[in-house]
């Protein structure tokens, strides 16, 4: 809750929305305690009874959002809230509709990947850039700031699952001519739980590329 501490000092009006798909680790109990500390206008719990997929999770969280801009981030600490000010600053400087965090520029980076994971990532990236020309360097990252109306529109038009969903959102946004800016972020791979990347994820990724090639 680092952000909860610093944002008021910078005069930023915000709320934290936690979408929880009935995780068994006591997330909801902690959220209720945090609401006691910070107030339930600051911390909002958007719970769902069971795991229902990423796209609908975004849509569900978005229903609770009251601001003009929404930042989506993973809550397992692979996305550090210390980068939030740079997202906001970049948006205010450029008036962009989307500010996307990128791990693949100087100032950004990844920790916790072995050589094979890096090779897969680079290969996937080169392939996507060669055939899709997306105009952003990090397609599958999910730490992004969106103008709320743009996010609503994108969520309703994207159909992919998992991290292909992240790629579909940014590719569609780029095709629709939205102003997209990038800021460097670092990514410390999941402290809690293991990051999954197997043969089936690679197949899903390739199917996603072909789908986007024809659909956008």
């Amino acid at each position: 809750m680092w952000g909860v501490g610093i944002a008021p000092k910078r005069n930023i009006d915000f709320e934290v929305i936690v979408v929880d798909d009935g995780s068994p680790d006591g997330t909801q109990e902690i959220i209720k305690q945090l609401q006691q500390v910070y107030g339930d206008g600051r911390i909002i719990l958007a719970a769902r009874p069971k795991k229902l997929g990423l796209g609908t999770a975004y849509a569900h969280g978005l229903k609770h959002a009251s601001g003009n801009f929404v930042v989506i981030m993973d809550a397992d600490l692979s996305h550090h809230p210390k980068y939030l000010p740079s997202f906001i600053k970049k948006q205010m400087e450029t008036g962009a509709s989307i500010v996307t965090g990128t791990r693949y520029v100087s100032g950004g980076g990844v920790h916790g990947w072995n050589l094979l994971r890096k090779l897969t990532s680079r290969g996937a990236n080169v392939l996507a850039h060669t055939i899709l020309w997306p105009g952003v360097s990090d397609l599958t990252g999910s730490f992004r700031l969106y103008r709320k109306s743009v996010l609503e529109n994108l969520i309703s038009s994207c159909v992919s699952k998992g991290y292909v969903f992240q790629m579909e959102m940014i590719v569609r946004a780029s095709r629709q001519g939205h102003h997209i800016e990038e800021v460097p972020i670092t990514f410390v791979d999941r402290l809690y739980g293991s990051s999954k990347l197997g043969g089936s994820e690679i197949v899903e990724y390739l199917k996603g590329l072909v789908y986007l090639l024809f659909a956008t």
């Binding site: 809750m1 680092w2 501490g5 006591g26 902690i30 305690q33 945090l34 006691q36 500390v37 600490l77 550090h80 210390k82 791990r103 693949y104 520029v105 100087s106 950004g108 980076g109 990844v110 920790h111 916790g112 050589l115 890096k118 090779l119 680079r122 290969g123 990236n125 080169v126 392939l127 060669t130 055939i131 899709l132 020309w133 095709r175 670092t186 990514f187 410390v188 402290l191 986007l212 090639l213 024809f214 659909a215 956008t216």
Partner: protein, 89 residues
């Protein structure tokens, strides 16, 4: 315009250029026939080169993992002071 249409346009333009070369006698026919093979090899080399460069220059951030651990300890202490029970792990 759908992206696939853009890519097909480029392919058609390249094919037209190639057929033009085959029809005219600027390069010997036997060599002109091999040009698509060279093109595919060049594309493959480009891909491998980009992956290689990407791997060599892959940005890593081991210091961030350390900083994150410090932040977690700080946050846990802070939340404990506020009376939030965050478990023992």
């Amino acid at each position: 315009m759908k992206h696939i249409v853009k890519i097909l346009c480029i392919l058609v333009a390249v094919a037209a250029f190639w057929i033009g070369l085959l029809q005219s006698a600027v390069v010997p026919r036997s060599q002109a026939l091999l040009l698509p093979v060279y093109l595919i090899i060049t594309l493959g080399c480009y891909g491998l080169l980009m992956v290689g460069i990407g791997l060599m220059r892959f940005p890593t951030c081991p210091q961030e993992a350390v900083l994150l651990q410090q932040d977690i300890i700080e946050a846990k202490d802070f939340l404990k002071q506020k009376g939030v029970d965050i478990g023992s792990d």
